[in-house]
């Protein structure tokens, strides 16, 4: 009982990080349905790396050139520019005559990853933060980050509520949507842009590894458990939020790394979804 009392008394410390984690998990869980169904799982991995690279570049600019970018909003804007720009670029990659689109995605992922390591190697003052940045550590989340995250979630939610049918049609059957007069590039761009918006905002809170996990695992669980698209979106959103929240609380209780615990929680939920499917069949 006293353990719970201690935990409850410390709510000022964990309330905002928990809230931010839950919003991140839900937001990314929702978008993950598109990521899995459009078979662009590695696009999300590449965008997560690009977003991290954006923050590294912002920090390098500050440290080496003396340009003030310490403000969280500026760093986030740079990360957003990298992520959203990468999203729009990767979204337009088609299968060429010589190389498949996957080659471009793979190269973006490894090059961005390599540049993150090289950039981090040149940073003197913030090396201790980089582990959190990449692997996630939602221990201390400023209120403004929670607000930014909530605003991003509302924007993404609104866009996908209003334009759901267009984005679903173009994602499901681009060829037909285009032939029937729809602007397939525009609606694909809308989807990629919202993914590119969500990634850096969430990565700032939970780190790159959980972001990649939340864009993949809850959706995989939801699509395993459900045969309806609307239900899959709802389940994936809820599972993402639960994995993030439960992972955060478990990491607090067990005193283990937060990001890795969240990913493990998501993995356990996927196992649960598989079991539900097996039992049902």
């Amino acid at each position: 009982m006293s353990a719970f009392t201690d935990f409850w008394d410390a709510q000022l410390i964990w309330r905002d990080p928990l809230l931010a984690s839950v919003i991140s998990g839900g937001l990314l869980g929702f978008l993950g349905v598109y990521v899995v169904l459009r078979r662009i799982v590695f696009v999300s991995a590449a965008l997560t790396q690009l977003s991290t690279l954006g923050i590294i570049v912002a920090l390098l600019v500050e440290e080496r050139l003396g340009v003030e970018v310490e403000h969280a909003g500026v760093q986030l804007l740079v990360a957003l520019a990298f992520s959203a720009g990468g999203a729009l670029l990767l979204g337009t990659l088609g299968t060429g005559r010589r190389l498949p689109a996957e080659a471009g995605v793979g190269m973006t992922y490894v090059l961005a990853g390599a540049l993150v390591i090289l950039g981090a190697n040149k940073l003197i003052h913030v090396a201790h933060d980089l582990n959190s940045l990449i692997f996630g550590n939602a221990v201390a989340v400023p209120v403004q980050d929670v607000v930014i995250l909530a605003v991003a979630a509302v924007v993404v939610g609104l866009v996908h509520t209003v334009f759901r049918k267009e984005v679903v049609f173009v994602s499901f059957d681009r060829e037909t949507a285009e032939a029937m007069g729809m602007n397939a590039s525009l609606w694909s761009g809308v989807l990629y842009f919202t993914i590119g918006l969500a990634i850096p905002v969430a990565a700032r809170v939970v780190g790159a590894l959980p972001v990649f996990a939340f864009l993949t695992v809850p959706a995989a669980a939801a699509l395993t458990a459900s045969s309806r698209l609307k239900t899959a979106f709802a389940i994936s959103t809820v599972l993402g939020a639960i994995a993030a929240g439960a992972g955060y609380l478990a990491s607090w209780t067990l005193q283990v790394p937060t990001g890795a615990t969240m990913v493990t929680a998501a993995g356990l939920l996927f196992v649960g979804a598989v079991l539900v499917r097996v039992v049902r069949e």
């Binding site: 499901f172 037909t176 032939a179 029937m180 309806r228």
Partner: protein, 253 residues
């Protein structure tokens, strides 16, 4: 009667690579045009240029007025990973007309259900699309195109991979749709026999031979025209009111 679409001395291709030049073609409101040629011969590229989703490298595409297109892709181009019901898929045909950001209305569902009925699958509205047979999926995609209430129905290899009975059934459905309403049909097939009993006009396309020919069906089914397309002697016979196309030496063109 003004044509729905007209290509005037068009060169089609991708990037800077021209596949076919000198293509002139009009699609009339009561047309049933079959575009025939070998696999990889440029048929889909031509259809894309016709529909305006691919800009011609040169020449002109004209569309005198607004045009509602119903499109049926090759059924293996549609991803069955998506957890959609047959009704979800058919209702997509209403989206382009409804406009961006506007919800589908009850009348859209009525129209989509009527289209599925017309395709003979009315009772499968709630069935997962991925659980349908190949022939049922093809009919569902045709229903989706019909749900748009199109002036032009464009189909890319609609009978590809079907068994003979399903192929006949799908082609009979197309003839019925064409005959019962004001719908022009443009379809692609690599199998001449699949369209020889249905189309009003035939177009032969083969980029390897730089071949482009279009004309009324009887004219295009002459042995000398077919021999030019297939590079071998081809016979056309009528038995029991149906045309059969035989390459000399057996096989199917």
């Amino acid at each position: 009667m003004a044509p729905l679409i007209r290509l005037d001395n068009v060169t089609i291709g991708y990037g800077r690579v021209a596949l076919l030049s000198g293509v002139s073609l009009s699609v009339e409101p009561d047309d049933f045009l079959a575009i025939v040629g070998p696999n990889g011969g440029g048929k889909t590229t031509l259809l894309r240029a016709l529909l305006g989703t691919l800009q011609p490298l040169s020449g002109r595409r004209e569309q005198p007025g607004p045009l509602t297109v119903g499109y049926v892709p090759q059924r293996d181009h549609v991803d069955v990973l998506w957890p959609l019901t047959t009704g979800d898929v058919v209702a997509m045909g209403r989206i382009p007309a409804r406009g961006a950001g506007r919800r589908l209305l009850p009348e859209d569902e009525r129209c989509a259900r009527a289209a599925l009925d017309r395709a003979g699958l009315g009772e499968l509205w709630e069935r997962p699309f991925r659980d349908l047979s190949g022939g049922q999926r093809q009919r569902t995609l045709i229903a989706r195109a019909l749900a748009a209430e199109p002036q032009l129905l464009a189909l890319d290899e609609p009978t590809n991979g079907m068994d003979p009975a399903a192929e006949l059934s799908a082609m009979d459905l197309l003839r019925e749709l064409h005959g019962s309403g004001q719908i022009a049909v443009v379809m692609i097939s690599h199998r001449l026999e699949a369209v020889a009993n249905y189309a009003k006009r035939l177009a032969f396309v083969d980029k390897e031979q730089a071949l482009w020919r279009v004309g009324p069906l009887p004219e295009m089914l002459r042995p000398e025209e077919l021999s030019r397309l297939y590079g071998r002697e081809v016979l056309v016979r009528e038995e029991g009111g149906r045309r059969f196309v035989y390459p000399v030496g057996g096989g199917s063109p």
